[in-house]
Symmetry: C2
Subunit: 253 residues, 2 copies
């Protein structure tokens, strides 16, 4: 599934009615987006947020795992009736949904024999052949099966686990980025930026984002590329254009 | 497209490389999720976040507009080269991508004849037959074509426009909800909650969400239903169960 010498891509599948109802603000997408892109050089290419409905989970898992190198799911691996990620992923890949011996031991040890009830035992059930992703905060592990990685929904727990997930992910090309903050409005530089983007279409991705802060109106021009030389050359072209148009540059980072 | 006497559903399509790269935290999904569910009784059923790539936008627009009553897009309707939502939606529906006369007038009036350059004119281009959604903060309107509604990505601008969008959306069934905050852990009540969910599976959606705050561990049990009587009966059953298990109830809202 993981292609050599190519960009490595990932998708995130957020599973949870509470996000769609507006009750809970998702915090995992932006966290994982930064971690994948900046730490691992893995390009996050799509996100889906879907409800706790088995057939929707199966459909999304199959489509995303086919289209991207990795799929990270969040949510739905807890002990309650609305936690159906593990059994849905098992069904998607036609794997037996069964106790993972090590996960069972970890949880039994964590809760103690007396308190290790059925709902807690459920957290040790996953697709046969899954590899564990250890959970240093609340014991219940995540898992990886094929190119799908299942993580919990609680942000603090998820964040404590990424260190144990890293070994399962092949890092991609390091993406370099540069942000030029300018004192202008988008439509003043749109034509010129488009020309420069056309020239660098194969090597650099140029984004343009208006901002309003501290009483100032501006545009952040963001360059992203796996090629340092291309990035620098594109950067020079943009600075030259901005100077020519007498656009004030706040800062470059 | 909008079905009578049924639940009304919506999807959100977030279009923007900046969200996927982790540079920008999306704020529109949680805002629109609350607004659709709580103000309009429209059930948000799916969210997709995709990059600024025409063929991906077209594919998502076609799939989502077929599966849901409404599709709300955010992002990509500004003046720069990476703003390609309007032309992509035009292509998806095989509509001519052309100037909307009223949008052109609004923008010309806003910028003044002298400053009304090509990138600004671009913001008046949309699929032929689109209806405008007025923008009280920065003039450039959003639009509705078929069951797809295109909104900007800047949260403050988007939020200023929803009042003008409301008239295009048929309200759905009012969803009532109740949250019971308890001092327990999920696995202690999971079996009992599952039984109650099975009993009320046709009328009430029960969610269970662990929380850790102010030094306390707890579970919020959230009930959602369009039927007040069902909700109250389900609520009673849960309170009875919690009392039987000696679970402390913090509050019910």
């Amino acid at each position: 599934m993981v292609r050599k010498n190519k960009k490595i891509t990932a998708a995130i599948l957020v599973i949870g009615n509470e996000i769609l109802s507006g009750r809970t603000k998702d915090q995992n997408v932006s966290y994982l987006a930064s971690w994948l892109n900046n730490t691992l050089g893995i390009k996050l290419s799509e996100v889906q947020i879907i409800p706790d409905i088995e057939k929707k989970i199966i459909k999304s898992i199959l489509a995303l795992s086919k289209n991207y190198d990795y799929v990270l799911t969040t949510g739905g691996i807890g002990p309650t009736h609305d936690d159906i990620t593990s059994q849905s992923v098992s069904k998607a890949f036609k794997k037996k949904y069964t106790y993972h011996e090590e996960a069972y031991r970890i949880l039994k040890n964590y809760y103690g024999n007396k308190n290790f009830n059925d709902p807690r035992k459920k957290m040790a059930k996953m697709p046969k052949g899954a590899k564990l992703i250890y959970n240093p905060s609340s014991a219940a592990p995540g898992f990886k099966i094929k190119n799908v990685i299942c993580l919990p929904g609680v942000p603090s727990i998820l964040q404590s686990m990424v260190i144990n997930l890293k070994k399962y992910l092949k890092p991609g090309l390091k993406i370099h980025s540069l942000t030029i903050s300018t004192e202008t409005i988008e439509s003043n530089i749109a034509k010129e930026l488009e020309k420069i983007q056309k020239k660098y279409k194969k090597s650099v991705e140029i984004g343009s984002y208006p901002f309003f802060r501290l009483g100032k109106i501006g545009v952040s021009i963001v360059l992203r590329s796996s090629k340092k030389i291309g990035l620098q050359s594109c950067h020079k072209a943009i600075i030259k254009m901005l100077k020519k148009k007498n656009v004030n540059i706040f800062k470059v980072v």
